[in-house]
C-alpha cells in the first residue's frame, strides 16, 4: 500500500480546542485544562483509507495566532487545514470565518479544508452556534463540516479520516522536486517511525 505524507494545519481562536483535537486524535488523551501549546514541533499520525495510508504531519499554531503573528511559513505546502471553533462561542465562529478567508487568500486550490465545531458535548443551553448555520456556511465555501468533541472523542477520528479520503491522490502536496535533507540520518529514521 502506498504511503502518502500530508501536512495538516490547525487554525482557530484561542481556546477553541485545536490542541485538544490533535491530542485526542494522536494520543487518545484529553485534559480539561490543556496548556496553550502542546510543546512539540508537530505530531504525526497515520490514517488508512481504502487505497492508501495517509501520514499526517500535524502542525499546531503554537499560540502564534494570538496577536495576528502566525507566519506565512505555517501554511506553506499544507495539504489540509482544520478550522476549529467552539460551538458555545459565536465570536470563535466569526474568527473561524476570517481564517477561512485568510486561507482562500493564499490561493492553494488543492487545499482540503474542514470546519470543526468543537465542544459538541456541551449542553444545549451553552450552544451559541447552530449546526445548521455552520453547515450552510461550510457548503457555501467548499469546506466540509463536522461537530466534534475532543472530550468524548465524538467524530474526531472521523474528521481526520474524512480529510484523508478527500486528499487528492495524485499530487504529493508537500514535496516538490528534489530537495536536500540537512540531516539525512534523521530523515531516514522519521520515515520508518510510523506506518
Amino acid at each position: 500500500m502506498s504511503v502518502m505524507q500530508a501536512k495538516l494545519v490547525l487554525l482557530g481562536d484561542m481556546g477553541a480546542g485545536k490542541s485538544s483535537l490533535v491530542l485526542r486524535f494522536v494520543k487518545g488523551q484529553f485534559f480539561d485544562y490543556q496548556e496553550s501549546t502542546i510543546g512539540a514541533a508537530f505530531l504525526t499520525q497515520c490514517v488508512a483509507v481504502n487505497d492508501a495510508t495517509v501520514k499526517f504531519e500535524i502542525w499546531d499554531t503554537a499560540g502564534q495566532e494570538r496577536y495576528h503573528s502566525l507566519a506565512p511559513m505555517y501554511y506553506r505546502g499544507a495539504a489540509a487545514a482544520i478550522i476549529v471553533y467552539d460551538i458555545s462561542s459565536q465570536s470563535s465562529f466569526a474568527r473561524a470565518k476570517s481564517w477561512v478567508k485568510e486561507l482562500q487568500r493564499q490561493g492553494n486550490a488543492s487545499l482540503v479544508m474542514a470546519l470543526a465545531g468543537n465542544k459538541a458535548d456541551l449542553s444545549a443551553e451553552k450552544r451559541e452556534v447552530e449546526a445548521s448555520e455552520a453547515e450552510a456556511y461550510a457548503e457555501e465555501n467548499g469546506l466540509f463540516f463536522m461537530e466534534t468533541s475532543a472530550k468524548t472523542a465524538a467524530n474526531v477520528n472521523d474528521l481526520f479520516y474524512e480529510i484523508a479520503r478527500k486528499l487528492p491522490r495524485t499530487a504529493a502536496p508537500s514535496t516538490p522536486a528534489p530537495g536536500v535533507v540537512l540531516d539525512s540520518r534523521r530523515g531516514a529514521q522519521t520515515k520508518s517511525a510510523c506506518c
Partner: protein, 447 residues
C-alpha cells in the same frame, strides 16, 4: 503584554529569531515584537506587494507579474554553506524540519571579463581553464595541503605554523600566481577584501576547507543550499521554535520603544500602544536602540527581475558569481546571486538576480554596474536599489541590559551572522553553545 518576562526581543530578523529560539529552549520566558506586520525585519523576504509598499509607497503593485504572493525578494540575499554554522544550528534546534532546501546549482568567478566555474578541489583545479599547465600543478598541491591540514596533527601542517604565517606567505610557499591567489582568497575563502593576506593563514585555510566540505556534503555544483520560498523562511522557522517553547509573538507594533531606568540607565522593558512589559534584559536589532550603535559601513543591493537565466552559467536556475575587487578596480568584492521559480521565489519562467557590494563612493548605484552587466541584455527590469547602513553596537550590553545585534554585512553566506548570534548568546547567558551536540530539550521535543 502587561507582564514580566526574562527577555524582550525587538525585531524579527534572522539574528533575533535565532536568539529567541535558543533562549526559549533554555526555558526563558520571551516576548518577541516587531514594528512591521511581517517577519524578518532587515532580513525579510518581501512579496511583490510588500516590495512595492517599501520602495514605491502609495503605488499599487503591478499585476503583469502574476500573483503577488508568489514572489519572495530577499532584502539581504545570501546563500547557506552546506556545512556551515547556520546548517548546524538548524539541525541542532531541529528547525530544519519546518523548512525545505534545495542546492544552489553553480558557483562562478569573474576573471578578465570572463565567467569561470570555481574549481574547489585538486581534481577541479586540474580541469579548470582558469590556470595554465604549471600553475595547475602548484594549485593542486595547495589544495591537497588544505584538504589534509589538521591543526591537531603536526605531520599535516608541514612545519607551517598558520597561527603566525600569513596567507601571503603561505601562498608564496606554493609559488601561486596572483590570479590563483585571487580566486582562492575571494571565490573559495570568500574574503570580501584583501586584508586577510597579511593576517595569519589559519582562518583562510579553514574557510577553504569549509567550502570544500560544503561542496562535498550535498554533492552538487556549489557549496550552497537555499530554502524554498526564500531566506525569510529562516526567521519564521526559529520564531516557531520559540513559540513552541512558550514565546509570545506580537507583530505590527509600530510604536514599540525600549524603556530605561532613569537612574541606572539600564533597560527595564518596552512600551507600545499604552501598554508596557518588563524584562531582565532587552535584545534587538540596531533600529530599536537609537544612539546605542554606530555605522561601520554601507551595503548596496540591487534587486532585479529577469526573464532569462543569468548568462554564461550553464542556464543554471541558481548561481553565485563573485567579482573579486581587483577585477573591478575596487576595494571590496561584488556578488551576484541568482535564483528562480525552482526555489519558489518568483512566478514561473522568471528569475531573480541581486547584485550587492560594500559601498565605497558617494554613488553606490554606479558602483554596481559591473555586476549588472553580467545579467545579460534586456528584457530585464531593474527594479530597486537598496542602500543600507551596517550598524554595530557600541557596548556589549552587560552594563545597560541592551543586547544589540550587528547589521548584515555584504558577505555571501551566514557564517558571520551566526557568529554574531553565538557571541550574543554567550554575553547573555555566560555559556557557549555547543553546536556539535544536540541539546536535550530539542531532543525531548522530537519524541
Amino acid at each position: 503584554m502587561d507582564q514580566d518576562y526574562d527577555a524582550i526581543i525587538l525585531g524579527t530578523g534572522l539574528k533575533e529569531c535565532l536568539l529567541a529560539g535558543l533562549l526559549s529552549v533554555e526555558g526563558m520566558k520571551i516576548l518577541h515584537m516587531d514594528r512591521n506586520s511581517y517577519y524578518g525585519g532587515e532580513s525579510a523576504s518581501l512579496n511583490l506587494r510588500q516590495l512595492w509598499e517599501k520602495f514605491r509607497p502609495g503605488e499599487p503593485e503591478p499585476t503583469h507579474y502574476g500573483r503577488w504572493q508568489d514572489w519572495a525578494f530577499d532584502m539581504v540575499p545570501k546563500f547557506m554553506m552546506g556545512n556551515g554554522l547556520l546548517v548546524r544550528t538548524l539541525v541542532h534546534t531541529s528547525v530544519h524540519n519546518y523548512l525545505q532546501f534545495k542546492a544552489v546549482d553553480g558557483s562562478y568567478v569573474v576573471k578578465g571579463g570572463k565567467t569561470y566555474k570555481v574549481p574547489a578541489t585538486d581534481m577541479d583545479a586540474l580541469k579548470s581553464s582558469l590556470m595554465g599547465m604549471f600553475e595547475k600543478r602548484r594549485a593542486r598541491s595547495f589544495f591537497m595541503y588544505v584538504q589534509d591540514y589538521d591543526e591537531t596533527k603536526p605531520d599535516t601542517t608541514k612545519g607551517h605554523n598558520l597561527n603566525v604565517m600569513t596567507s601571503r606567505e603561505l601562498f608564496a610557499k606554493f609559488g601561486l600566481q596572483d590570479g590563483t591567489v585571487e580566486f582562492i582568497g575571494h571565490a573559495l575563502a570568500l574574503n570580501v577584501d584583501d586584508a586577510y593576506l597579511d593576517r595569519p593563514a589559519l582562518k583562510m585555510v579553514k574557510a577553504v576547507k569549509l567550502y570544500e566540505e560544503s561542496l562535498a556534503r550535498f554533492n552538487t555544483g556549489s557549496p550552497y543550499i537555499y530554502p524554498l520560498y526564500g531566506l525569510g523562511e529562516l526567521p519564521q522557522g526559529f520564531a516557531r521554535l520559540s513559540a513552541v517553547y512558550g514565546g509570545t509573538y506580537m507583530l505590527a507594533k509600530p510604536d514599540v520603544e525600549v524603556t530605561y531606568d532613569p537612574e541606572t540607565k539600564r533597560a527595564t522593558g518596552v512600551t507600545s500602544e499604552g501598554e508596557s512589559a518588563r524584562a531582565k534584559f532587552v535584545v534587538g536589532d540596531p533600529s530599536y536602540f537609537p544612539g546605542k550603535t554606530r555605522r561601520i559601513g554601507r551595503v548596496v543591493r540591487a534587486i532585479c527581475i529577469l526573464s532569462h537565466p543569468i548568462p554564461n552559467c550553464g542556464d543554471a536556475h541558481s548561481v553565485q558569481i563573485i567579482l573579486p575587487q581587483a577585477q573591478t578596480g575596487r576595494q571590496s568584492d561584488m556578488y551576484v546571486f541568482g535564483c528562480s521559480w525552482a526555489h519558489n521565489v518568483c512566478a514561473k519562467g522568471k528569475y531573480l538576480a541581486f547584485v550587492s557590494t560594500t559601498v565605497e563612493t558617494a554613488n553606490p548605484h554606479l558602483e554596481i554596474e559591473p555586476g549588472l552587466a553580467l545579467l545579460g541584455a534586456s528584457p530585464f527590469v531593474l527594479f530597486f536599489i537598496n542602500v543600507t547602513d551596517v550598524m554595530t553596537p557600541i557596548a556589549d550590553g552587560k552594563e545597560d541590559g541592551c543586547f544589540i545585534s550587528a547589521g548584515y554585512d555584504a558577505t555571501t553566506h551566514f557564517e558571520s551572522t551566526v557568529l554574531d548570534v553565538l557571541d550574543m548568546y554567550t554575553r547573555i547567558t555566560g555559556k557557549t553553545l555547543d553546536l556539535s551536540e544536540k541539546d536535550p530539550a530539542a531532543a525531548a521535543a522530537e519524541r
